[in-house]
């Protein structure tokens, strides 16, 4: 038996961004960069491990919004065009840097990366990379779980139970459609737990979720294992608490691994560095400079004089950091073993996009960690496997908590974004009113009501208030929130007048085409 367990959970999520009304849309690049730098490299890494017969188990949360975009034909086509553009740029860059011994190997690395991405995307996955994750789940190496439909910060909707229910139910139905099975676990967006959430999860067949450490530690009931075993809530859902030190080691740019001076610098990008006439075809319209993904420098230190990125040095450092991470976890397990009567389980949950997109070497670090763990006294485990082994766990009800700033809701209720809630909450109530008024519709009215439900869900994404508070594309986040609320309000008003502008409806159905199976009655208020 292993002396302890390490549970890696990767949460893959992006908000629904799809703009058929534009030939090219800036924020769609969020998806393209994540596919190129995170999702495809992770798939290649998992497949290498599987082919090498390395024993491993990882849990992967795929949000319904991301899954919808990954299976959307328009975005798939646009991603292919994006990759072709990147390959074209890499060829031009090979020529431009032909006498530069520092940059040539890095340019070649990008060319290989984008060519491998195009090959995998077109030939291996036939443009649908969810297939890759599904195959890995079938092979028994990853467990795929879900997250509420549009990734809302649920505590801000705790007074509106019908929308919590709608978010969870819609996610589960969508997950079943895309992955062919019901999810057993759910990633709670931003780890935003509120007392009572467990009842919604249980009611929808969810066995487990995750919370911030203090959610469990500040519970009224004592958890004899701290966060090193899950607790079982009153409703019967298991909640696993986040281990703080393991995430800190991987998150911190200053104290953690990704800030090492030999790793690739995230900010220096040729989209900003090269002359506008040269880089124009690869940035945004109107000469708006954007990240292209071609970054040639190492972090180097707190200096503007960055050194060229050296691939081999970074790869060697990855090995050291994986070794160090495992060593630290082994010490943790050793210390915990003295006070626990079962092997401790360390939960290390991360946003998947950390690996590859921000921390370029992240997927290699994960691979190295998994290989080294296989040869250690620790074992990788998924929550589901753990619960099979240890179905009886201490009773405790987590408190309101999140992994946001200062542990609660201050990111999502802030002077920059608090104006949205009067509209979001009103839309929920009005949607439930529509369900009551039209309990059993078909034909055009059914289409109208289903689109209304989609717009309400889309308006609730936690990404929009997050960006309003912290981000660099604030006008877009504001427009998106307004757009969905406006669409919903227009439908509501038209239904009140018993008129429907079918041309407009068809337009927004085509644009916001997420959740094709949605049933608006999901917003029915409980009796």
């Amino acid at each position: 038996m292993s002396k302890g367990y390490l549970c890696l959970v990767l949460h893959a999520h992006l908000p629904f961004v799809r703009h058929p009304e534009y030939d090219k849309f800036l924020e769609e690049n969020w998806l393209f960069e994540a596919i190129s730098e995170t999702y495809l490299p992770l798939l290649r890494m998992f497949n290498r491990l599987y082919e090498d017969h390395v024993p491993f188990r990882v849990a992967l949360s795929v949000s319904p919004t991301l899954a919808s975009m990954l299976t959307d034909e328009l975005l798939q086509e646009r991603y292919v065009q994006h990759l072709e553009k990147m390959i074209e740029l890499s060829i031009k860059e090979l020529v431009r840097t032909r006498s530069d011994l520092d940059f040539q190997p890095v340019v070649r690395m990008y060319k290989e990366l984008y060519e491998a991405n195009l090959d995998d995307f077109l030939n291996l996955y036939k443009k649908n990379i969810l297939k890759g994750f599904k195959d890995l789940e079938k092979a028994g190496v990853i467990d795929i779980i879900t997250t509420p439909a549009t990734h809302p910060f649920l505590p801000n909707f705790s007074e509106f139970p019908q929308t919590v229910e709608a978010q969870i139910q819609t996610a589960i139905i969508d997950h079943g459609r895309k992955f062919g099975k019901a999810p057993k676990g759910m990633w709670i967006p931003e780890m935003g737990y509120f007392p009572g959430l467990d009842r919604f999860l249980k009611h929808n067949g969810i066995k487990y979720c995750f919370s911030a450490a203090h959610g469990i530690l500040f519970s009224d009931q004592e958890s004899p294992y701290g966060v090193y075993a899950p607790v079982k809530t009153g409703a019967g859902v298991h909640v696993f608490g986040r281990d703080i030190p393991s995430s800190r080691a991987v998150w911190s740019a200053e104290e953690g691994y990704p800030g090492d001076f030999v790793y690739r610098d995230f900010y220096r990008d040729i989209g900003f560095d090269l002359p506008i006439d040269y880089i124009r075809p690869y940035i945004h319209d109107d000469d708006v400079r954007i990240c292209t993904g071609f970054k040639y420098y190492a972090i180097t230190g707190k200096t503007e004089q960055k050194k060229p990125y050296r691939i081999e040095e970074a790869r060697a450092k990855v090995q050291d950091h994986a070794e160090n991470f495992l060593y630290q976890r082994s010490l943790q397990v050793k210390k915990l073993s003295g006070i626990m009567d079962r092997p401790p389980m360390i939960l290390a949950p991360f946003d998947a996009e950390l690996f590859g997109h921000w921390w370029f070497e992240g997927p290699l670090w994960l691979e190295s960690l998994i290989r080294k763990t296989a040869a250690s006294q620790l074992a990788l485990i998924t929550p589901e496997e753990y619960l099979d082994m240890y179905p009886d766990n201490p009773a405790a009800d987590p408190t309101f908590s999140s992994w946001g700033n200062n542990g609660y809701g201050e990111v999502w209720i802030d002077h920059s974004n608090d104006w949205i809630y009067r509209h979001l909450h009103r839309a929920v109530d009005r949607m439930s009113e529509l369900v009551e008024r039209y309990p059993d519709e078909s034909g055009l009215k059914l289409r109208v009501l289903n689109q209304a439900a989609r717009e309400v869900l889309l308006s609730q994404a936690s990404d929009w208030p997050f960006i309003m508070k912290t981000g660099t594309t604030v006008p877009y986040a504001i427009k998106r929130t307004q757009e969905h609320l406006f669409n919903f309000t227009r439908i509501y008003n038209e239904l009140c007048r018993n008129t429907v502008d079918t041309e407009w409806l068809t337009g927004i159905e085509r644009k916001n085409n997420i959740f094709p199976d949605i049933d608006y009655r999901v917003f029915r208020k409980a009796e």
């Binding site: 500040f218 004899p224 953690g256 406006f486």
Partner: protein, 244 residues
């Protein structure tokens, strides 16, 4: 926002942007000087935003980080006007953290008219009730404090005096010297925001496990243990002692 982009802005757009950044009389500055000042302010603003975020949020930010402060940029040019009011009197109370709640309210036509007649400061106010544990009866609403409002207010942040108890509030107006309730909010439960005292003081393996989960060393009491933000901040920021 890059220097190059600022240089390409028309003077009017540049002045507008500068004013938005709090620069007074931008027309009086030399264009290059103005651009440098705007860039400096944007950089400071970006640094401040980043430093206020914890590690999880800083990682999350990177997902959306593809341009530099292009605050003028939004490809979507269409407007999506939202109702200013919903013409229905109600107040919603939202818990933000153990110390703060946020509330917003809306007024129906009759109440809106009533509120518009308020002449003196303090005649429109929020009454915040601290509610005891257990069943809530009419007596529960006897422990309260008032927050005076302006007629134009429609939301407020409330500093919750005590963690771990329930709160609710009324939106009220004084009418002929009498306090009249316009609407009552939902009830919220502020979390205790600390490890339970009995667990903290116990000398058991279970208490050790709690501490090892990332709090602080047993016996190493916090200086100000009633400040939940400080406790969470410690939890969030301390470099873990476990493996030392």
């Amino acid at each position: 926002m890059t220097k190059e982009r600022l240089q390409r802005l028309s003077d009017d757009n540049l002045y507008e942007l500068a004013r938005r950044q709090g620069i007074r009389g931008p027309e009086e500055l030399d264009k290059d000087e103005l651009i440098d000042t705007v860039l400096e302010i944007l950089e400071e603003d970006r640094d401040e935003r980043r430093s206020s975020n914890n590690l999880a949020m800083r990682i999350k930010e990177k997902k959306y980080d593809i341009i530099l402060d292009e605050e003028l940029i939004s490809q979507i040019t269409e407007d999506f006007p939202l109702p200013e009011r919903y013409n229905d009197t109600r107040i919603v109370l939202m818990l933000r953290d153990p110390s703060w709640a946020f509330t917003y309210w809306d007024l129906g036509s009759a109440d809106f008219a009533k509120v518009q007649e308020v002449e003196n400061p303090g005649e429109l106010f929020l009454r915040v009730y601290s509610l005891p544990a257990g069943e809530i009866g009419s007596k529960s609403y006897s422990d309260y404090f008032d927050i005076p409002l302006r007629v134009t207010d429609d939301s407020w942040y409330i500093n919750l005096p005590v963690a771990g108890i329930r709160y609710c509030m009324d939106l009220m107006v004084k009418e002929y010297g009498k306090d009249v309730t316009l609407c009552r909010s939902n009830v919220i439960q502020a979390p205790r925001a600390d490890i339970a005292r009995e667990i903290k003081e116990a000398k058991t393996p279970a208490a050790d496990a709690m501490y090892l989960s990332g709090l602080f060393s047993p016996g190493n009491e916090l200086e100000d243990e009633d400040n939940p933000r400080r406790i969470i901040s410690l939890l969030d920021n301390q470099y873990f002692h476990l493996t030392n």
